[in-house]
């Protein structure tokens, strides 16, 4: 991801990587005020993205957005809105009404966080991205304050009565990424 971004030029196509990770906690670049997880059975990886601490594991879709923001004419603020829209639209497919909370980027359902985001922009190109909880073991989240918010609860599609498989949600997200990024790009040029 870092390698792709540092070696890309103005002709390199944007890429979207969709994956699931084995259990892992990841820390953002700015660690001030972050309390580290108490459990030692899950590895902790330091990253250079924005945001504080989060957990990734099987049953959660992780989407990496490797975009040339200059070429797309997208700034940080609209990019983050675009990511939130992708998740809101994905949840709508499953009849789940999502909420956005001012000053706390991410997507929430009934005040519980269902999707997290964290990005890095280098030389006008983004990497890292967002994750959506589908059908996973949420208990590792209880050892951390997700994204630095004390006592923030998390949820997932399965707990909201959605039985879709992680693979299916991944496919939906891929389509929505493509569409929402084109919308955001168009808006940027208007």
């Amino acid at each position: 991801m870092q390698e792709f971004t540092s070696s890309r030029d103005t002709d390199t196509s944007d890429e979207i990587w969709l994956t699931e990770h084995p259990p892992v906690y990841t820390l953002g670049l700015n660690r001030r005020g972050v309390s580290l997880p108490l459990r030692s059975d899950i590895p902790l990886v330091e990253t250079d993205r924005g945001g504080k601490i989060t957990y990734h594991g099987p049953g959660q879709v992780v989407v990496y957005l490797l975009l040339d923001l200059n070429r797309l004419n997208l700034a940080v603020k609209p990019l983050v809105q675009c990511i939130e829209n992708i998740v809101v639209e994905a949840l709508r497919i499953y009849q789940v009404e999502a909420e956005l909370i001012e000053d706390a980027p991410g997507v929430y359902v009934g005040k519980r966080k269902i999707a997290s985001l964290g990005l890095r922009v280098k030389r006008g190109c983004s990497y890292h991205g967002f994750s959506l909880n589908v059908d996973m073991d949420l208990s590792p989240f209880s050892s951390i304050d997700p994204c630095g918010f004390k006592g923030l609860e998390v949820t997932q599609l399965r707990n909201l009565g959605v039985s879709a498989a992680t693979d299916e949600v991944t496919t939906q997200l891929a389509h929505l990424c493509e569409r929402q990024i084109s919308f955001a790009q168009l808006k940027g040029f208007l």
Binding site: G28, L29, N30, R32, D48, R49, G50, G51, A75, V76, K77, L79, V80, D103, P105, G106, L117, G118, L119, R120, V121, K122, R123, S126, C147
Partner: protein, 127 residues
Amino acid sequence: MSYPNECHYHKEHTWLILQPNDEALIGITFFAQDTLGDIVELGGPPKGSMVSCGVSCGTVESRKTVSDLISPATGVVLEVNENLRSEPFMLNDDPYGKGWIVRIKLSNLGEIEMLMSAEEYRKNIGE
């Protein structure tokens, strides 16, 4: 949008104000703070470090996104605006005043001529 005439502007959305004794203040432009959104953390260069024109000298975090801070000139950091540790929002509220990031000793005054005037910068960002 506001772009004071006393500033010299770098295309990566930072400004520089000349001070006596070949010193200069550096910060981010109104356009930068506006497109980044609310800034929650600044990872600026430490006192005594060397910054280079056009090269990343730190990071700015806004809306869960870490972006590079590009120095508009080459020099040594003489002073860091410590207030930004507790009040990073000053980068949004007062980008040319209380939101100054560092004071540097310029190594190469010739670089300043390569920077843009307020008018040129406005054109550059499509205003």
